[in-house]
Amino acid sequence: MEAINWTQVVLALGVRFIGVFVILAFLMISIQFSGALLERMRKRAGLDETAVSNGGASQRNRVAKQPLPSSEQAGDSLLSEETVAAIALALSQLDEEHFSIRPSMALPGEKPPAEARDSSWRILGRQGTHQRAASWSEFGNRRQGKPTGNAKS
């Protein structure tokens, strides 16, 4: 059995444990540095785009000279998460009620099952599809100057 120099072993292990910290700390600093750099580049690119869309080199310079809004100010001008969620929910409900084409739950040539025939979602879905088809055909007719279905009736 090899003789163990305990002081040396403890020191070697201590140094290596610190070594793991040092290596990962280097990696942490690299990530933070590259993240900050990329964020700055992204912001700059965003500002340039804004300046171009506003038009003119003078405008671009003016925008570039303006101080960046603080995160709080920027947050105030943005929609809150709840508002965004509410809008998304409303849009999805609108989509479900009016624009989606519902499955008939039956293969071609088969009679649809009772729950598909009589359920409200099927009626809604079918109505939605018909309404959409009607509205699209009316839209096409109007563009071509033809009388629409409503006008005929």
């Binding site: 059995m1 090899e2 163990i4 072993v9 403890v10 070697a12 292990l13 201590g14 290596r16 444990f17 070594g19 793991v20 910290f21 290596i23 990962l24 700390a25 280097f26 990696l27 942490m28 600093i29 690299s30 990530i31 933070q32 590259s34 993240g35 990329l38 992204r42």
Partner: protein
């Protein structure tokens, strides 16, 4: 008549029955135990099942499996001894790993480093029990909770311990939900467990693409000895993040990973013959394994508490437990504990940061251990 008896005797000698020893029977029981854990308890079944069955088959006396040139020997020789399988598994792990939570919260890298405390403490502890320095290093790495790294390091330093080390690592990894919660509860106050963390920032695709290159340069320059393992890991992650080689990354993540997992399990199980396994060192390895896991968990939690002393944005110390790189099990444990303390707490993504940092931390610790002896 004598000729008939001699004939029967010679036939009997070719069977395993007369060569069966108590050691074989004990190893069968060991294999059945791990098969029970895999099948009934579903603890890491992907690994414990092939390992358990490998132990069983290799302990069938006279079965031509583990002698030089035979089937399991070939798997073991070219897969493990040549260090192919752990590295290929790391390629797959790289493809599976999303570093975004760690990039969004780089402090989690320090947690991953702190969770390596057990590796070094266990190293010291095993020396007291008569392990050699190389054996001690290979046992210490079990606490990193990283199977491929454990196998890689053990093969490099103490190949005769591959079986018990790998088995201890995978067994305890599967028992993380049982091992970690009491330690985390013991080391944290109720108020600390209730800390809500700020939502992580979005990480751009460019950052995610740059990370594997950056990590390869940095770790490759400081500890080149671990690059066979970590290089494959970063390659896999680069393939994932660039998204231009979907076919390759899909193969590495699924088919290739599954294939090498089968060979890994069988190869590890095949090393566990009665004469290799049935000795006090194996039992000690299992004892030190659980001690290692406990100290590594404590190391992660205490590191978060230390970081909280010097930073404004407080981290929930529960996520320190995820520094033990049993991905994603330990992150899930942290999440569950966080929800238990505060139902509004969603720690999963926060815990994934230290979790993937732990993989890098364990690899770094293994690299430093290898460098110590070469």
């Amino acid at each position: 008549m004598n000729e008939l008896f001699e004939l029967l005797h010679s036939v009997l000698l070719t069977t395993g029955v007369v060569h069966l020893t108590v050691g074989h029977l004990i190893m069968w029981l060991v294999s059945f135990f791990f098969l029970y854990l895999a099948v009934k308890k579903q603890y890491e079944p992907l690994l414990l099942l092939p390992i358990g069955f490998g132990i069983f088959l290799t302990n069938l006396p006279m079965a031509p499996l583990m002698e030089k040139g035979q089937l399991f020997w070939i798997f073991h020789h070219y897969g493990i001894e040549w260090e192919v399988i752990p590295c290929v598994i790391f390629l797959g792990l790289g493809v599976m790993t999303d570093f975004s939570p760690m990039i969004a919260n780089p402090k989690s890298l320090l947690v991953g480093a702190g969770a390596q405390l057990g590796v070094f403490i266990t190293f010291l502890g095993t020396l007291f029990f008569g392990f050699t320095l190389k054996e001690a290093a290979s046992v210490g790495i079990i606490g990193g909770a990283d199977g491929p790294t454990t196998i890689f390091l053990t093969n490099a330093l103490a190949p005769h311990l591959i079986g018990p080390n790998a088995l201890a690592a995978y067994s305890y990894m599967s028992m993380v939900p049982l091992i970690q919660p009491p330690i985390i509860r013991f080391l944290t106050t109720d108020a600390e467990r209730k800390i809500e963390m700020k939502q992580l920032r979005d990480v751009s695709r460019l950052e995610r693409i740059l990370f594997p290159i950056m990590a390869s340069i940095l770790i490759g320059l400081i500890i080149p000895s671990i690059m066979p393992l970590l290089g494959m890991f970063t390659l896999g992650n680069f393939m994932r993040e660039t998204g231009v080689v979907r076919r390759l990354s899909n193969t590495a993540e699924h088919e290739l990973m599954n294939i090498v997992t089968i060979f890994l399990g069988i190869s590890v199980g095949a090393t566990m013959t009665a004469d290799q396994f049935l000795n006090p060192k194996s039992l000690l390895i299992f004892g030190f394994g659980i001690f290692d896991f406990i100290v590594c968990t404590a190391g992660g939690v205490l590191t978060v508490k230390l970081i909280n002393l010097v930073t404004h944005d407080k981290m929930n110390p529960i996520i320190g437990g995820a520094g033990v790189s049993a991905v994603p099990m330990s992150a899930r444990v942290s999440h569950a504990l966080g929800r238990e303390a505060n139902p509004r707490n969603f720690l999963l993504m926060h815990a994934m940061g230290p979790n993937v940092a732990g993989v890098i931390g364990t690899a770094a610790a293994a690299g430093l251990m290898i460098a110590m002896f070469t």
